[in-house]
Symmetry: C2
């Protein structure tokens, strides 16, 4: 409510051309909030509003905006305005921006940057999109091991304003090889004349440029880092990934995993900003695919039509069998997928996981079959034979579901596929099919159909 | 592989009583890694290994360990050893530790702390478990507005070693009211004689002690903070939440959401460390509950048994209808739950979400019904009438699934319930029931059964 009123106030000021007032208000806001406001205002207003912002705030705001609006703004910029914005950006933010733009806009952006910046951006753009190299920035503080604490602090005072972070400084040798790191806190509490090499931490945890971004985020989270250094094949320091990037990567990866498990083709946009056609396209593919595979399970029922005709009551329990199989499969697959994401489980753990799931499925299977048996006899009054058929199938379904549910994600990851994609959709199909085959086979034999 | 060899080397050294060597190795490791190693070693070795660690490293390692092992260690400590460890901990870590311990251990821990520490810990323990108050620490740097930049840096030098973070300093008035903040970077690049109040940022984004921890993490992520200040009802600064806590909260909250959606009772342990009985208990409750609700859908089929007996072919398409309904429901509910978690959607957006889902479901419903119709006629050769019944039901199922899928989570959140709990399990039950009722009603009328 408050945000709408605020937005309407801004639009009024804009219409009344009260630019100085608008500017005064905007500069008190955080870039993330300004971007959020701009997203809800009419697009034609954006260029004007944007020009009210001071250079640094303007650049920080661009970074927080959605790609469509960034593109719109850039198209409205003159070449010198574009150059000003690009020059203000940290390199990793410039790379993020460029990665979302169409080719002609990219050419324009690169053309407006000065040659050194352009060279560095091109270097960063070479890295694959999900790698540490694509996340990192080159604006960090590097120190020689022989400088003193006092000299280091003076260096930070001089150059710190342009660095993405000054809080962790990296110590490098002549060949740029990473020797250690030292935090600003350590610098501030150490004796001024001490050489850096005496206070620096030499056990550096680092990643290579090719490291997966999810692993980068996991490391930052595990070790409570502010920044993580990135090296090339020769162990030379080439950039750093900061903790704010880790937070963003974690959010993106979670959302993507969740969408994959729910059979959605992942997109990167907030729900309310997605159009109807976009949502449709992200969902319909899997829906069609899964509908086709579900008809496969249907043909199993068709092949047992005579058995079903002889004992129609059997049909009533199909939903319960399939749902239970689905839930069992989900429980296991989701747990395993999460473990794979967090690096807690890997392919070598497959025997251990299988053994654990086998025992859990036995316990669950027995519990559910027993509960079901009682219920069928006492409430549904189907008779011992049918109750037996149902419970035997239920037991087998639970076991099958949990075993398939843990094997498929782990195998997928081993084969280089995304375990979340392989999860619920395929698991459900396999388990449903097995469940129905067992159901009708047992029923046919036990009931003499 | 490497880790196992390393671990075995350590055990050998331990058995050979080569304690000095062991200590030399351990001090090169990061606390998170030491805790990881300890977790895989025989428990009886822990007290001995732990005593090899220097005080500060020992305390940091305790923080990273699982609660069962923390308890084991503490039980093995003498009172003075316990006091040493507790005194070394940051207060928020001490609170986290205490929250996981049984009552007698808690009493012992509090008894060993000095009176001031005990008082502060008790203050922090009063906050509800999922609030900003329970996450925060009180070891931050606070400055008076009239001190100069130089005096501030000197204060950090003197006291910084004990602070959780020195990188953001908070400026408070006489009554401890939060006036602003200033980063260490700003201090380092500013003129030494400038009063703090001239360089500080006065637009402070803060939270109250009662704020939900997921919202705290969202704010830290949105604004790229290193720390977020926490105030009481009178706007007095009482603590800070640091970015490393935000990363941990994000991981916990996402795992919890995922587990809830998969009908698992959330636990906080890594999968491989959970015992068979624990896994069983976290899953069986929902499995039983959902099995019962699935039998409800079964009774719908039973009530239409005569229709089914007349046209047994109808049974073959029940899996496809139910699966499609389930997938449609999942896609929507998962997207909405994610939006609710990230603060992108709230109750006021319900009409907007409903309208969007209505249109998407129309598109999906028409596409799926059309594809199904073609397939039924060309491949299954069921005849126009039955194909029509199936496709009309499919269309209605898709629409119902997506509408229920967006309403239920949003309503749940409004009613103060966890939307993830309300999601797939209940949605599937409702959608299955509606789907089957429509199926048999349409079939009965259209086919004259």
């Amino acid at each position: 409510m408050k945000e709408t009123m605020f937005r309407e106030a801004l639009v009024s000021l804009l219409e009344e051309k009260k630019y100085a007032t608008l500017r005064d208000i905007l500069v008190t806001l955080n870039p993330a909030d300004i971007a959020g406001l701009f997203a809800e205002l009419p697009e034609r207003r954006l260029p004007l509003l944007f020009r009210l912002l001071p250079k640094e705030l303007a650049a920080e705001t661009v970074v927080e905006m959605e790609p469509e609006q960034q593109e719109l703004l850039i198209q409205g910029f003159s070449d010198s305005e574009l150059k000003e914005v690009i020059d203000e950006l940290y390199l990793d933010d410039a790379v993020d921006l460029i990665e979302e733009m169409p080719a002609n806009v990219v050419r324009r952006i690169l053309g407006s940057a000065d040659p050194d910046t352009r060279k560095m951006i091109n270097e960063l753009l070479k890295y694959p999109e999900d790698s540490a190299g694509s996340l990192m920035t080159v604006e960090y503080v590097s120190l020689r091991p022989t400088v003193t604490v006092e000299q280091a602090i003076r260096q930070i005072r001089r150059t710190g304003i342009d660095k993405e972070t000054v809080y962790t400084c990296y110590v490098i040798g002549d060949d740029r090889r990473l020797l250690g790191f030292v935090s600003v806190r350590t610098l501030l509490v150490s004796e001024e004349e001490t050489p850096i090499e005496e206070v620096m931490e030499t056990n550096v945890i680092y990643v290579h440029t090719s490291e997966d971004k999810e692993e980068v985020a996991n490391l930052i989270r595990r070790y409570d880092f502010i920044a993580l250094p990135v090296v090339d094949e020769e162990q030379r320091l080439v950039g750093i990934v900061t903790v704010d990037d880790a937070l963003d990567v974690m959010q993106e990866e979670f959302t993507e995993d969740l969408e994959r498990i729910a059979a959605i083709t992942p997109t990167d946009k907030p729900y309310l900003r997605m159009g109807v056609l976009e949502l449709y396209k992200s969902r319909i593919l899997w829906l069609l695919l899964l509908m086709i595979s579900a008809t496969f399970t249907g043909t199993i029922i068709t092949s047992f039509e005579s058995a079903l005709a002889a004992q129609v009551a059997l049909a009533s329990f199909i939903p319960m069998l399939m749902n239970t199989g689905g839930n069992c499969g989900s429980q296991t697959s989701v747990t395993v997928i999460r473990g794979l994401s967090l690096g807690e489980i890997d392919f070598a753990d497959l025997p251990r996981v299988l053994w654990k799931e086998a025992r859990v499925s036995l316990l669950c299977g027995v519990t559910l079959a027993a509960a079901s048996f009682l219920k069928l006899l006492l409430f549904d009054k189907v008779g011992m034979a049918i109750a037996g058929v149902i419970c035997v199938t239920l037991f087998a379904t639970v076991i099958c579901a949990k075993l398939v549910g843990c094997v498929l994600p782990i195998l997928s990851k081993k084969l280089g596929l995304d375990p979340a994609v392989m999860s619920n959709p395929f698991i459900t199909t396999i388990v449903d099919a097995v469940s129905l085959i067992i159901y009708f086979q047992v029923a046919t034999k036990a009931l003499g159909l």
